[in-house]
C-alpha cells in the first residue's frame, strides 16, 4: 500500500480514521524517536493492546509508521520518509493543534464509526 507517498495532511487525515490511529499519530508526533511493540505502545497510550496492534499495522501499511519484525515482537517507529513526516506534522498542527479541534475531529470519527456499524 502506497497510501500517502508524496501526499499531504489531507491524506493523513483520511488514513487517521480511528481514535487509536489518531492517538498513535499524536504519540509519534510528540515523541518522534519512540520505538515500541504493540504491547509497549498500548502502555504508553493506555489503550487496548489488540486495538493498538491493528491500528499500528494499518499505519505501517500506509507507510506512516515503520514496522520491524512480525507478530508480537514487531517494533513500530515513525517512518524515515521526510515527506510523510512533514505531512504528519502538518496534519497534527492543523487538524489537532488545539483541544477543541482535536475534540471536533474525534467526535467526527465517532459519528462515522457509529454510521459504519
Amino acid at each position: 500500500m502506497d497510501a500517502c507517498k508524496g501526499k499531504s495532511a489531507a491524506q493523513i487525515a483520511l488514513i487517521a480514521d480511528s481514535i487509536v490511529k489518531v492517538e498513535l499519530l499524536l504519540f509519534f508526533h510528540s515523541n518522534p524517536m519512540a520505538m515500541d511493540t504493540a504491547r509497549g505502545l498500548s502502555m504508553w497510550l493506555g489503550m487496548d493492546m489488540r486495538a493498538v496492534e491493528k491500528a499500528a499495522d494499518e499505519l505501517a501499511d500506509a507507510m506512516v509508521l515503520k514496522r520491524y519484525g512480525e507478530g508480537e515482537d514487531a517494533v513500530y517507529t515513525l517512518t524515515d520518509d521526510p515527506e510523510v513526516k512533514r505531512a504528519v506534522v502538518e496534519f497534527v498542527s492543523t487538524v489537532l493543534s488545539s483541544k477543541e479541534k482535536r475534540s471536533a475531529f474525534l467526535r467526527r470519527l465517532l459519528c462515522e464509526e457509529a454510521k459504519g456499524r
Binding site: 510528540s30 515523541n31 524517536m33 519512540a34 520505538m35 515500541d36 511493540t37 504491547r39 509497549g40 502502555m43 504508553w44 515482537d73 517494533v75 517507529t77
Partner: protein
C-alpha cells in the same frame, strides 16, 4: 586540574563529592524514592555533556514521555530541542522488552545510534522497569550484566536510575554489579519540612566524600551542597598556636582589656550565653568596628532580617547603612523555614573567596544546629567554618544560645569548645534581685587573659560596656565565680558517685 579520566557530571557539588567526577566509562546507579530528583540528575548529566564537553548523549526512557522530559528540562533553562536538532542528544521512548531485544541485535536501533552519533553518555530511566520483562533474579542479573558489559566495551559513561523505598537497607544485586552507587533521599526534618539528600554509597577505584550531603532542586537544576568537612581537627595542642600575633580590637574596649589586648587575627570566637545577654550586640559592635576601620565584614543573620539588624544596631549608635553602601559590610539572611546549613556554608565559602573579608559573624549557631541531620556533624560543621575563616585570615564570632541552667564548666567541656579558639560566656545573673549581664573569657588560645566574671551593660547609643574593675559589686561577683566552680565540682562528684554505685 581535572584529569581526562574523569567525566564531569556538570551538577554543581556532585563532582566535588566524587573528587573530580565520574571515572570515564563507569556506570553509576542513581537510586531513590519518587520525587528525590533521579530523572533531573540524569538529564542534567546528559545536557552538560552535550553542551559543554562535546559528548553526545542518549536517553532511554521506559516511563516518562520524552515530551514531558523536555518540558521539565525547559523549566531549568535547558534547551534540549536544539541539541537534539544538532544530533548531540537522542531520546528513545521504548519498553524494556524492545530495548533488551535491540541491545542483543548488533544492527538494531540502539547500536546504530551509539555508533552513528558517537554516543559517550547514556542515561537509562529506569532499570526498575526491567522487572516488566521478568522478576526472576537470575535473568534480571543477566540482563543488567549484559547492558553494563556493552557500555563498558564501548567506554560509555552511563547513569541508570533505580526506584528504591526510602528506608530500604538491604542491597540490590545491581549495587554489586555497577561501578558506583549514589542514593538520593527526601527525609523529614521536622513535622513541616522534608529535605533532599545525596550520598555516595560506593565508587569503585576513586575516593569520595562520605556521608549525606544536601541536595536542592533550584531554578537551574540540581545543586549539591557537600557536608563541610574540616581538613584537620586537632585536640592535642598542635593546632593551638595562634594563627597570627596581630591583635585586633573587638570594638568593646573593656573586652579587649580582658582579652589581653584584643583577639588574635584569624581567631574563631564562640559567643555563648543566655538569650538576651547581649551576644548579637557584641557581634554587631565587633563587625561594625572592623568595617569602620577598613576591615570588610560579613554578617550572617538567621532569625532577624537585615532591616531588623540595621534598626537594632541604630539603637546602640551603630550606623550600618553607610557601611553597606560602601561595600564594607555584607549581610546574608536565611529564614528559619527553609534553613539548609550546608548551603549556608557554601554560600559563605563562595562569598569569602570572591571578596577580601576580615571579620565575620554567624548569628546564630543555635538556629543551624537543629537543622543538621546528624548531631555528630555539628562539631565538624563548626570546625569547617573555623578553618574556612582562618584560611582566609578572617576573625570570626559565632553566637550560640545556652540554657540558663548550663554552668560554664559544661560549656568548656562541650563538643564545640575544642574546635574554637576563644569562648566568651555572656550570662544573665540574678544579683540582689536584679538581672545583671556578665561576661567571662572561658578560653583564649595562646594568650593570657582576665579569667574573672565581669559585669557589663548595654547603653543606648553606646552599645556594650564591660566593667573590668569590678565596679558595682566586686565581692558578689567573686562569690558568684566560686559558686559556679563549686556547682561544677559538685556535679562532677555526683556523676562519679553515680558511676561507682553502678
Amino acid at each position: 586540574m581535572i584529569s581526562d579520566e574523569f567525566v564531569r557530571t556538570g551538577i554543581p557539588g556532585v563532582d566535588e563529592i566524587l573528587m573530580g567526577g565520574i571515572l570515564r566509562g563507569d556506570t553509576i546507579l542513581v537510586q531513590g524514592a519518587p520525587g528525590t530528583g533521579k530523572t533531573t540528575f540524569g538529564l542534567q548529566f546528559i545536557y552538560y555533556g552535550a553542551l559543554h564537553c562535546n559528548e553526545p548523549g542518549l536517553i532511554v526512557t521506559f516511563e516518562q514521555f520524552p515530551k514531558q522530559m523536555l518540558r521539565d528540562a525547559k523549566h531549568f533553562g535547558w534547551d534540549f530541542e536544539t541539541l537534539i536538532e544538532q544530533r548531540k542528544i537522542h531520546i528513545i521512548a521504548t519498553s524494556p522488552h524492545v530495548f533488551q531485544k535491540q541491545l542483543q541485535s548488533p544492527d538494531g536501533i540502539i547500536h546504530r545510534t551509539l555508533a552513528e552519533m558517537d554516543i559517550q553518555r547514556v542515561f537509562i530511566d529506569s532499570i526498575t522497569h526491567f522487572q516488566r520483562i521478568t522478576t526472576d533474579e537470575v535473568q534480571l542479573r543477566e540482563m543488567v550484566s549484559g547492558l553494563l558489559n556493552m557500555l563498558r566495551q564501548r567506554e560509555i559513561t552511563a547513569i541508570l536510575t533505580q526506584e528504591v523505598q526510602q528506608a530500604e537497607q538491604s542491597f540490590t544485586f545491581e549495587e554489586y554489579t555497577v561501578d558506583a552507587v549514589i542514593r538520593l533521599s527526601l527525609e523529614p526534618v521536622d513535622r513541616a519540612q522534608r529535605k533532599r539528600f545525596i550520598e555516595v554509597l560506593k565508587a569503585r577505584g576513586q575516593a569520595f566524600l562520605p556521608g549525606r550531603h544536601s541536595l536542592a532542586i533550584e531554578s537551574t537544576g540540581i545543586r549539591v551542597y557537600p557536608a563541610p568537612h574540616p581538613i584537620l581537627i586537632s585536640t592535642d595542642g598542635a593546632d593551638n598556636e595562634p594563627p597570627s600575633l596581630t591583635r585586633i580590637r573587638s570594638g568593646v574596649p573593656g573586652l579587649d582589656r580582658m582579652l589581653g589586648g584584643g583577639l588574635y587575627e584569624g581567631f574563631c570566637v564562640l559567643l555563648a550565653g543566655d538569650v538576651g545577654a547581649g551576644k548579637s550586640i557584641l557581634a554587631r559592635q565587633f563587625i561594625a568596628y572592623g568595617a569602620q576601620h577598613n576591615e570588610r565584614g560579613l554578617y550572617v543573620t538567621i532569625r532577624e532580617t537585615p532591616e531588623q539588624v540595621i534598626r537594632a544596631a541604630e539603637t546602640i549608635g551603630l550606623e550600618l547603612r553607610p557601611l553597606i553602601e560602601n561595600d564594607m559590610f555584607t549581610m546574608l539572611h536565611y529564614s528559619l523555614g527553609d534553613l539548609d546549613p550546608y548551603k549556608i556554608f557554601w554560600d559563605i565559602r563562595n562569598l569569602v573567596s570572591s571578596k577580601p573579608f576580615k571579620r565575620a559573624v554567624i548569628d546564630s549557631l543555635s538556629d543551624i544546629q537543629p537543622n543538621l541531620m546528624e548531631a555528630a556533624t555539628f562539631r565538624d560543621y563548626v570546625a569547617a567554618l573555623r578553618q574556612l575563616f582562618r584560611s582566609h585570615g578572617i576573625t570570626s564570632m559565632l553566637t550560640f544560645d545556652i540554657r540558663p541552667t548550663t554552668v560554664e564548666q559544661e560549656l568548656i567541656e562541650s563538643e564545640i569548645a575544642v574546635v574554637v579558639d576563644a569562648i566568651l560566656a555572656l550570662r544573665l545573673r540574678n544579683i540582689h534581685d536584679h538581672m545583671r549581664k556578665t561576661i567571662t573569657v572561658l578560653k583564649m588560645r595562646g594568650s593570657d587573659h582576665d579569667d574573672g566574671i565581669r559585669s557589663m551593660r548595654i547603653e543606648p547609643g553606646e552599645g556594650m560596656i564591660v566593667e573590668t574593675g569590678f565596679e558595682g559589686m566586686p565581692s558578689f561577683l567573686r562569690r558568684l565565680q566560686q559558686l559556679s566552680m563549686e556547682v561544677a565540682r559538685g556535679r562532677q562528684g555526683f556523676e562519679t558517685e553515680g558511676s561507682e554505685a553502678q
